[in-house]
Subunit: 390 residues, 2 copies
Amino acid sequence: MADRTEHRLRVGVVGLGIAGGLMVPCLLRHPRATLAGVADRDAELRARFARDYALPVEDEAEALIARADVDAVYIATPHQFHRSHTLLAAEHGKHVVVEKPMALTLADCDAMTEAAARAEVALVVGHTHSFDPAIAEIARRSEAGEWGSLAMLALWNYTDFLYRPRRPEELDTAQGGGILFNQLPHHVDIARLLARSPVRSVRASTAVLDPTRPTEGCCMAFIDFVNGAAASAVYSGYDHFDSDELHGWVSSTGRRKTPRHGESRRALSSLTGGDAEARLRATHYGYGGGSNQQRGVAQHQPHFGTLIATFERADVRTTPDGVAVYDDDGVHEISLPSSSDGRTRVVDELCAAVLDGTPPSHDGAFARTTVETCLAIQESARLRREVVLH
Amino acid sequence: MADRTEHRLRVGVVGLGIAGGLMVPCLLRHPRATLAGVADRDAELRARFARDYALPVEDEAEALIARADVDAVYIATPHQFHRSHTLLAAEHGKHVVVEKPMALTLADCDAMTEAAARAEVALVVGHTHSFDPAIAEIARRSEAGEWGSLAMLALWNYTDFLYRPRRPEELDTAQGGGILFNQLPHHVDIARLLARSPVRSVRASTAVLDPTRPTEGCCMAFIDFVNGAAASAVYSGYDHFDSDELHGWVSSTGRRKTPRHGESRRALSSLTGGDAEARLRATHYGYGGGSNQQRGVAQHQPHFGTLIATFERADVRTTPDGVAVYDDDGVHEISLPSSSDGRTRVVDELCAAVLDGTPPSHDGAFARTTVETCLAIQESARLRREVVLH
């Protein structure tokens, strides 16, 4: 299936929104993959891409998926299409990377995993920030026993998430809107990769603080792992405090940013007209838009807020340029090259699966448990009690 | 009982350790109180005090408590004496401030509250960092409805607590050692004052990471309040990461400090001899010692680590000099005078109770619930399940 003569995987990008827009340059410079083409229903995004590259541009996902010169697809369509597009790709014998959340129900996750297994295609779920080089570095050293076992993991992220321009369904939890399915998976994936143990139970609280954005915008979750490690994930997307202030004002994509407290809310409040917000979402945050996330080359490490991992013999913290290790001898920093990022590592996992036969760590089973954990967080907050996972 | 002609309360300090040593200057400059004398069993601490002040110095608590020129006592003796010293003071008709933890059992808390009520003396429990001016300022504005209701409260503190010199019983949880009874009360008191609602349940994890200091040194607790607010308290005393790094390198007592990662552990490891550690605790951290906590005047606000409170309309964060408010309009800071601190406010509460008849907010009932919450945190970690409070 893969173009094994060249050993480069030809990947099509389905959906040129935020995630797809960030994946395009990543595929273009990847050593083992090439960008085979794109698909999007939005004419403006297609036109922007066509101006930049002489590559196939389709308006429907199936048209791209069906192409003979496409080995794999990156599915970055709205959540409600993840299942059908993944099944479509598997039916066409194409390998799949599907964006998080994998799906909104465990039944959908199972259908996707089964379809990929039946078709014998690779299935990788990402990107989440658990692919970030700093997380991989901590996981690698932790697995090697460098600091002893993990006792607790503190995760904080305060962002403007809820006030970035949204399509209506993105503000409806039942349709996968809000932070529970879009931001918590980052925290949960990071915690699971670093704890290296099944989730045993969760206890969580969530809140809807702005009735004009009627979906969960903040969450506090206690996660207990079978091996005794615990994680506390705190998230708010209400565009008040910005935890990048504790991270040298480096954004989640590793770009230097200017402090701009409350700017997203104010920008949104200036919009008028029925679909102005959805249009802004597509044009500013989609492929070729002017959003900060795509501006310039990342000079620093991508991250998902403040992270402090307490091991037996050291505390470990993610920093703008790597990982700080606080151990018995003091503090030292592990510098990481800014040339790699989490999305590159998504493609690495896909290529390793298809070209080398190495099973991906972020496969369907891994992602299903993250969906299960996020659903348990939602249930715990609703019932106001601890929820034990199966 | 109080010297009402002068309207200044004559307070004796029982115990010249860390807490007593910090209370001495606070009483000396308080506008409504005077320092009436001190008591300590340690001859060196008594000699130091006698060199500095021409005030009564007793070697036994009862001798100070029984003095006719003492209206109230500040009990800063080891935990195991809190009950007996409080009862003794009540029997002598003296008002009481007792250090946290109030006691190690609810039965002891009840006995102390009842003794104070029977003797009609005031009972204040403190100091904890919930007395800090920044916490009081947030509580006051929160109560006035300035930011809407509280949704979540994130509390982080990473210190060298476990590696400060200790007496043997301070490393034995059964005798009230470790962070559960000595550090968590700060977080719990702060959370309770800001949530302004009873604790409904807790879910927590604790760990003993150093077998040579065999008591809980780190903890992660999820606290659910009846009104729906939630708090996450994360604490580690393992002298690895120091969260003052996120707080402008200002110490918990409001003093500028030099980054000194791992210094406490190294200083401790250089000690030799059976009681060298206990002696160092008394001499370096007790009255007149050279510890950083007593060095110079505090130029900044006292604090207990990083605090972010998420209200409906603002996130609020404690800073070195006050409180930062992140609301819809951006960020602004509420500056607080460095002349006031938490210990002064402990004495304020005592004086208001005795001289004005104003019931203290940190009374026996308040402190009992904090002990109950800390015991529930311990039980939740042991049973690995949520514990609902009565």
